[in-house]
Assembly symmetry: C2
Homo-oligomer: 465 residues x 2
């Protein structure tokens, strides 16, 4: 292609006085009385647009002065140092070609004025053209690339665990059914029930809520694996932290105990935050200016501080004795609420904190039981300003303990035969955790709602585009 | 963690005579008459196991001589140069701890003998422990990492396009329905139809078949984007090339024409093949030895050769005049069959070939119409030994041409309102393509069936695990 990304020009990769061509969209246009137009052109490659200075000597100068926000253009000219106090470089244009006009600029949904976040959400197909969603998109990309890089450098294998699952392991409720049955003419068994043996997979199938159990099979062979893929919850939660479809990162590590994966979580988060601080300074400065004042400083503090570690039991004592009145009362055995987690991270430890060894009765069947008979080797990573960001555990690798737990919880051993096989054949201690990717992006950018950090959010009642 | 990956030892990263600990699974055990046992231990980090030489002076030597394939162990000892003709390094063990036994070795599904690929598929939760599936997993990981790296280095943004879609754009048929309706008690409208306004998203929803249309919205803001995520086809195709759930890579590039993305496809494929040749030599040597003799040489040839380029119309002439008898007759206007594509790549051009400008009547509504009024700017990349590996096109960016095409095909303009918006507001020429990731992995490894290059394949009648 015969053009260059604007980020390359603004970074100073190209020699001054070179002839360059950029292609992008008009953010703003300003005409001077002296017969010069100033076009701010963006192409998504970085936060800032580049300024093109267009003299009225151009043949199509009347076209130039008709340009409005969102029009697409090809600008050719000489790269020069900028004398203004904005960008360091600009283009002295000797040609401006209009590639696409904006039909009826007065009704263009992304006009140059400032729009509310809610309004942008209603125009999800056009919102990446705005400053804020462009910045979110670049930071999201930066985080995902850094995650892959982190795990790859550490010898982890990316595994794609299945999206459609007919496994009974994942626990019913809040799952989406996947089917090709004709809804207006459902096949029936003799007893009158829906006959799923006629369905595409020959039985009931759902969208996955987690790749963990499948991930454990691969960790039991490759040692270190991670997933990074979409997961689903059919929850009717209309909150700023829930999506029906979201991306999750789930490392699973053979021969690792709970402390090992707590350390993994710490180094992973610090690695990706450092990547954002280094690679997306431009976007982070915007977030700090317009969205969340502490966007940069809290990441900088995060990467500098050691994580605190506290046992659930000690955390309960801290909360009971802190003298603070919580909406949800605290006593040993209850699950921690967001207000408790945030008190611990923000006021008590003033640092990210790993809370470990939760009561077994509030945790999943697969978590490893501790010696005390009361707790399991589970952890949550809780960060100031967001609360829980990671949940993980050491997995129960002892077949007899697992079986007793399945029985106790009224689960059918047969349904878990392949999962139990991992404990029959060369079982190893292993641990892992899950990180909700959208919550991570929301935390980094300071965006208040996960719907604004994924391209096309899916929530109860909404699956447009 | 206190142990080291076997790949580090075999690469020579660790000084000879160091005390080292590895953790992994037994592949084989051999006992010498002199009272020494040789354990081949693998941990998934590379193709080869490391040999641990265990003297009968160990306290638990009776345990060591009971080890069978699949048992998990922790081995500590001194790293020494190997005198045998296998690996370059081995461990003189001074401790072997058994972490997990294999219950009833005679019935262990992954016993040391050679198993058929079909048998392994029936034990998908254990098959990554085999040589062949371990190698597939590492090569798959290498390809995915290389793809992300390639796009990232070139300034592309990874976008997660939605998995669940209620958009009417994707064309009906062969899609999986996503629903939370109670199948035994479906809500009905006054007319007696299923009332999807009661469903989770307030209307009918399906699993995506492609992220392209959504990807175009982001390319129209960020310029260069790609997707890498799961896509779905509810096809009843029981072939070695089809999965109901598969991963797809879809770059979409603003300001790019068909030739630009043909070049992008060429450099992308060469980049990832080079990565495999460099980083996974060990696994590729295994594939060349046991699965597909030309596994390495054909990749080497692929990266050295320039892609051929041919117009569909010229390709038809070549096929008509080649004197070869095809099962499917050839004439202008028909879609090319696999036998035609392979003839062109393998016998005529003897190189990967980009076939361009197909008849409009056999292609999708969104492909850009050429001046001749008969063809569209579509392309397929066809490779020797596999056939079609990539399909792409320049997209129709002219609103009036797109609208005429929608009308001609009986599609409802209203259903495409957000897609049409991209043509109303700063429309730009843009192009993209789709790469089926499993077909890529199958091609690279020489594995004959896409079910054997994804961890847990989903096909008609099968969604186990």
């Amino acid at each position: 292609m015969s053009h260059i990304a604007i980020t390359e020009l603004l970074k100073g990769t190209v020699a001054v006085d070179s002839q360059v061509t950029v292609k992008g969209w008009i953010r703003t246009r300003r005409d001077s009385k002296a017969g010069i137009s100033f076009l701010a052109v963006h192409d998504g490659s970085c936060f800032d647009p580049i300024q093109a200075v267009v003299p009225n000597s151009l043949n199509n100068y009347d076209e130039v002065t008709s340009l409005t926000a969102g029009c697409s253009v090809k600008v050719t000219g000489v790269l020069v140092k900028s004398e203004g106090n904005g960008q360091s470089f600009e283009i002295q244009a000797n040609s401006v070609e209009v590639l696409g006009w904006v039909e009826n600029p007065d009704t263009y949904p992304m006009s140059a004025k400032r729009h509310s976040i809610e309004y942008l959400r209603e125009h999800a197909h056009l919102r990446p053209r705005t400053n804020v969603m462009g910045a979110v998109t670049r930071v999201r990309n930066c985080l995902s690339q850094a995650l892959h890089r982190f795990f790859h450098e550490q010898g982890y294998m990316w595994i794609s665990t299945p999206i459609i699952t007919a496994s009974d392991c994942e626990g019913a409720g809040e799952m989406f059914r996947v089917s090709t049955l004709d809804m207006n003419n459902l096949p029936r068994t003799d007893k009158g029930d829906v006959d799923y043996s006629e369905d595409f997979f020959g039985k009931e199938a759902f969208l996955t809520v987690s790749g963990q159990l499948n991930g454990e099979t691969y960790a039991s062979a490759m040692s270190k694996i991670y997933t990074f893929g979409p997961t689903f919850r059919a929850e009717n939660s209309n909150t700023s932290r829930h999506l029906a479809e979201f991306w999750m990162v789930e490392p699973e590590v053979a021969f690792a105990d709970l402390d090992d994966v707590a350390n993994l979580a710490e180094s992973m988060l610090k690695y990706v935050f450092n990547a954002v601080l280094t690679e997306r300074r431009d976007d982070m400065e915007f977030f700090a200016q317009r969205i969340e004042k502490t966007a940069i400083t809290r990441l900088e503090e995060f990467v500098e501080k050691d994580f605190a570690q506290v046992d659930y039991t000690d955390a309960i004592t801290i909360l009971e004795q802190c003298g603070k009145k919580f909406e949800f009362p605290v006593e040993w055995g209850v699950d921690l609420q967001s207000e408790h987690e945030r008190y611990l991270a923000e006021e008590h430890f003033k640092a990210p904190v790993v809370i470990k060894n939760y009561p077994r009765d509030i945790k999943a069947f697969y978590m490893r039981q501790n010696e005390d008979g009361k707790t399991v080797a589970a952890m949550d990573v809780v960060a100031p300003g967001i609360g829980e960001i990671i949940g993980g555990s050491q997995r129960e690798e002892r077949l007899e303990v697992l079986d007793a737990r399945l029985e106790e919880m009224g689960l059918n051993k047969e349904d878990y035969s392949w999962y139990r096989d991992l404990r029959k054949y060369g079982s190893v201690p292993h641990s892992g955790f899950g990180l909700g990717f959208e919550r991570l992006v929301a935390y980094v950018t300071g965006m208040g709602n996960v719907r604004d950090v994924i391209a096309f959010p899916r929530t109860k009642g909404s699956a447009t585009y």
